[in-house]
């Protein structure tokens, strides 16, 4: 059965009675628009002896196009529907726990990641009620504030938690109807693409989550400056110089920026609402009351 050789990752080799069987190895590719393309650049880099797609600037642009294309349908879906799909992601992840265990992800982190999907699945149809509401203006007006998704969110995945950290930054972004372009942590591409495979089978519309493996330091500046990206989560920008440069680039189009924490985040802790509300806009609608 599955076995993990130290330092080289997971390689299934199934034996029959007669003779050893040559295993089928997986080609790890990008996740863009619901599909799994190779990098258009043809480049790869190696992690644990695997060839990982090294995303290019063009791949990033494609991912943003896919994410933008998915916004209307995803933001327009009912909160109930989004909740169903996020819960489905939990189901898919639970079913693939062995695979992530084989990748060396600790069991506690896998179950915590599953539970995190469940937590955010329950938020999709509550955040509007908790974060919005009626405003008692001094006059005969109906006045209501409700949160709306901000649009396409660029995410630098955390570098200290391959699965739980990744789920903790992706789930809140999409729970509220945003779409995401995620730059996987350079050292954890396999868990990221495996997660993409769970999402691809969770009824998530193509393009809602796009995951690029490679070197965030190379692609992130283009993401931060991209005029069709509305916000940035810099969770994985642990290099302060990079984080500053990305925040400066984001200023050019006034993207909403969630800065990286100053101390390493404990992803097992209660996530609170900050990640959920940072990528929301509040829309207030006025209408006269009268007969």
């Amino acid at each position: 059965m599955a076995a993990k050789a130290a330092g080289t990752g997971w390689r299934p080799t199934l034996h029959t009675d007669q003779q050893p069987r040559v295993g089928i190895r997986k080609t790890y590719k990008l996740f863009i628009g619901g599909g799994f393309p190779r990098s258009e650049s043809g480049r790869t880099y190696q992690v644990d002896d695997r060839n990982i797609a090294l995303a290019s600037r063009k791949d990033l642009r494609d991912a943003v196009v896919a994410a933008r294309g998915a916004t209307r349908k995803w933001a327009g879906a009912t909160a109930y529907n989004r909740g169903q799909i996020l819960y489905r992601a939990a189901e898919m992840l639970e079913g693939r726990a062995d695979e992530f265990a084989g990748l060396g992800v600790p069991a506690a982190e896998i179950t915590a990641a599953v539970d995190r999907w469940v937590w955010y699945a329950g938020w999709t149809d509550k955040v509007t009620q908790v974060y919005g509401g009626a405003n008692p203006v001094a006059g005969p007006y109906f006045n209501l504030s409700a949160p709306e998704p901000t649009g396409v969110v660029g995410v630098l995945a955390p570098t200290n938690s391959p699965l739980l950290g990744l789920v903790s930054v992706v789930a809140p972004v999409i729970a509220t109807g945003n779409t995401a372009v995620v730059l996987a942590a350079e050292g954890y591409p396999v868990a990221a693409i495996s997660l993409a495979e769970t999402l691809a089978t969770a009824d998530l519309p193509g393009g809602v989550v796009n995951i690029l493996t490679g070197r965030p330091a190379e692609t992130a500046p283009w993401l931060a400056a991209h005029a069709d990206v509305n916000a940035l989560d810099l969770a994985g920008a642990t290099d302060p110089e990079l984080a500053t440069a990305l925040e400066e680039a984001a200023a050019g189009t006034l993207k909403r920026v969630l800065r990286p924490a100053t101390t390493p985040v404990d992803w097992r802790a209660d996530p609170g609402l900050t990640r959920l509300t940072t990528f929301l806009e509040t829309k207030t609608v006025w209408h006269p009351k009268g007969t």
Partner: protein, 478 residues
Amino acid sequence: MPQFEYAPAPESRELASIQASYRLFIGGEFVDPTDGDVGKTVNPATEEVLAEVAEAGAADVDAAVRAARTAYEQVWGPMPGSERAKYLFRIARLIAERSRELAVLESLDNGKPIRESRDVDLPQVAAYFFYYAGWADKLPYAGFGPQPQPLGVAGQVIPWNFPLLMLAWKIAPALACGNTVVLKPAETTPLTALRFAEICQQADLPPGVVNIVTGAGETGAALVGHPGVDKLAFTGSTEVGKQIARRVAGTRKRLTLELGGKAANIVFDDAPVDQAVEGIVNGIFFNQGQVCCAGSRLLVQESVAEPLLAALRRRMATLRVGDPLDKNTDVGAVNSAAQLARITELAQAGAAEGAQPWSPPCQLPERGFWFAPTIFTGVTQAHRIAREEIFGPVLSVLTFRTPAEAVEKANNTPYGLSAGIWSEKGSRILSVADQLRAGVVWANTFNRFDPTSPFGGYRESGYGREGGRHGLEAYLAH
């Protein structure tokens, strides 16, 4: 029908009692600047110099930030919210008591009609302080965690279009949450902020809780770049907002921005024409159009464009342009020569690009900064007057055929602050409101504000909300 002439109904400017020169307000005292310059503030309606005003230099800004820090650590931060509330209620009452004086001063310094400063700005200013005063002892119930904490010293930079109202939007929530502030008013409209400093003294507000540093861009830049500032709030142009966002990159300073807009005011074929016309006029000519959420792009359904525009022209012909202190004035002076130049330049670009301007016949005063209310028809989405914020009494008229086209045109802008919808059909209003990328949507009304109602934009109109429960978030750690 006979035309009735209006007799002049001037408000007395004596109420404003303006000093010859003004100093900085730091640590509860008016002090001379140590390294700054001196500027002048003029009455835009007459070009008369109203007063000399100190311009704070870097050392002055530093002194103000230090005074705010001391007050935060020693007095205001530790003070129970219930006590902070009382000071804010006092301020709200003092503003209401002195509202006539403040309204006259505002109209003199800004050029806005007394009708607006008296009936809109001042009541709102008092209401914002009153509203946020009530939050000061209820913060754990605001939804931002059970133990919400202030951030520290807030640096606040505000514009010239609503000098005292923007001050209230900034100072009231900051103080309610336990922060102390250093506020820089706009260089062309510092007088009411300095009068507000006197009100702080009259309220016995502890020294250093509110500091006012007057000056221009350099003073603002010194405040933005000061390492002792924990939070920055800026209202102004998108261009400067981007500079500030770049400047705070890599710091831990929190930032909220309330920037420009190019609001679409969408009129459907079933809209009540007279109400829509009033809304359009209010949307673009209120405060001479110098409003970030002004309805500067009128999108009219093609089938009603002709009668609507005819009614709009009739209504515009009744607008009275002139002396801001006359109680009958609808449209006052543009705030500065620089702003007038910008409006003029963009209006000329509109004509040069092929749009047709129209203004009602009106006699503009010879001195001062004036621009007649203007509409442009035949505007396309590519025209500069349909894309750039003019910040003046200039309306661009475009047409559409279907709700989908209206939404597409409305959202065809990098801004996303506000929008208007005029229709008698409720389901259409709600559907279109859903699709508009704007922070405030006024349906069958326009330019309404209230302290309980959050205000702020999407996209390049900035981030964060002011007003309401949401407005507290900008001043609380979480």
